[in-house]
C-alpha cells in the first residue's frame, strides 16, 4: 500500500507517474536534481539556510507518527 496522496497532476501534459507516492516526489525534489554551487548563485543572503529550512519543514510534515497501544 502506498502512503500519502498522489502529487498534483502535471499541467495537462501527460498522465501522472506510475505508483507515485508523496514521499517519492519529495525525495526527488528536495534531495536530487542539479544545483549550481558557488557564491555567484547566492544573490540573496541566506539562500543555503532557506534551502535547508525548506527541507526540514517539508520533511517534518511526512515524519511517521509513532506510538499507539
Amino acid at each position: 500500500m502506498t502512503g500519502g496522496p498522489p502529487p498534483p497532476a502535471p499541467q495537462g501534459q501527460r498522465p501522472a507517474p506510475d505508483e507515485t507516492t508523496l514521499v517519492d516526489v519529495l525525495d526527488r525534489v528536495l534531495d536530487r536534481g542539479v544545483v549550481l554551487q558557488g557564491d555567484l548563485l547566492l544573490g540573496v543572503a541566506g539562500v543555503d539556510l532557506i534551502h535547508v529550512g525548506l527541507r526540514l519543514i517539508v520533511r517534518s510534515v511526512d515524519a511517521p507518527v509513532r506510538g499507539g497501544p
Partner: protein, 224 residues
Amino acid sequence: MTLQVYAYTRAADAVVGTDRLTGIAGAAVSSIVAGPLAVVVSQHDHVPAERAAALAHAATVDAVTARVAAVPVRFGHVVADAATLRAAVATQAPRLERLLADLGDRLEVALHAEVTDRRPPLPPRAQGGRAYLLGRLDQERAARQVERAARTRLAEAARTLGPHAVTTSHTSGSRGPEVCFLVERGRVDELLAAARTLAAEGGVRVSGPWPPYSFAALHEEAPA
C-alpha cells in the same frame, strides 16, 4: 523579487518548454536564455517553505520534461535576478551542456526495496542500562541485515532490468534503498512492464517515470 529555478533546457526549446505553464503559487513560468541554454524560472516576492510549493515545483518540472529535454533542478534553488542567474550559468555552461546532452530525451524509473521493520523490541526499562544498550545493538544489527537484504534484491533487479536502460544509479530515499534507471523516452513503457513483472514477485515497488532527478548532478572535472 527572486527567481525560482526549475530546470535547464536548450535555448532553442525555451518557448516550447514553458508556453502557458504555471509554477509555484500559480506564478507564470518563463525561460531566461543564457547562451546555448535556457533556464526555466518563475518570479516571486517570497518562495514559501511549504510542501505545496515543493509539489508545485515537481509538477512544473514534470510538465517541462514532458515537452522538451531538460535537466531538473532541486527545489529551493532561488536567485536574485536574471543577471545573477546568467553569471552563474556562464561559469557552469560547459558542464550543463554536457549534462543536458547526457540526460537528453531520457527519463527515470525507480525500483524501491520494500523494507519491513523487523527490529527486536527493546528490553523493559527495569532491566537497566546495559540491557538497553545491548538491545539497541541488536536493533542496529537487525536493521543492517534488512538493508543488506534489500540492496541484494535491488542489485538482482538492476541486473535483470539493466538491458532496458542507459544506466543505473543505486541510492536511498526516505523509505529505504532504491535503484534508479535512466531510460530513453521511447523505451519507458518497455522498462515499466519489465519492472512491474519483477515487482509482482514481491519485495520491490516501481515508481516513475520521473524527470531524471537522480542523474542530474554536476561533477567536478577530473584532473588532466
